[in-house]
Symmetry: C2
Subunit: 96 residues, 2 copies
């Protein structure tokens, strides 16, 4: 899987509101109603990540969820990260 250039990444990020590129990874964060809502979304993301065999670097405190995506083997961001980012967006939208 080829690492995307910064130009390619920034072009793609135009379709991803609330996502940024920094330190060789994509980043976003979400705020939910409470812990249960946050973990419900995390569970859906976990199943999707496992299906894609591509996993997030993520952290949670109560209703807050922070996610970073990168492709370890490529030492940067690849199409795999955008595919998972899109799935995450779809899940969050569907559960709002």
């Amino acid at each position: 899987m080829k690492r995307l250039t910064e130009e390619e990444i920034n072009q793609k990020l135009k379709d991803f509101e609330g996502w940024t590129y920094a330190k060789k990874a994509l980043h976003t964060s979400f705020q939910f109603e409470n812990f249960k809502e946050a973990f419900t979304v995390m569970t859906r993301i976990a199943f999707e990540a496992e299906a894609q065999q591509h996993h997030p670097n993520w952290g949670n405190v109560y209703n807050e969820l922070e996610i970073s995506l990168s492709t370890h083997d490529a030492d940067g961001v690849t199409e795999k990260d955008f595919k998972l980012a899109q799935a995450i967006e779809n899940i969050v939208e569907a559960t709002n």
Copy 2:
């Protein structure tokens, strides 16, 4: 809920292998077989945290899980954190 003193915390930590006290919180980390195993444990912890109405500050990357526990209202570590820490230990032991 009263904040515990550093002496009280260190005394209690003698019963918690792999846990440390720093920056007003308890910290530990676990390594599992893979993402699925890590998230399975996270799910069990999530239910327990919700039942206790006390939630972890935690992060996961693939098979690694980092957990910090503190009591926001007390600006430090309380009995609540040790109660959740004990539940986490029980869950991890039961799933190994």
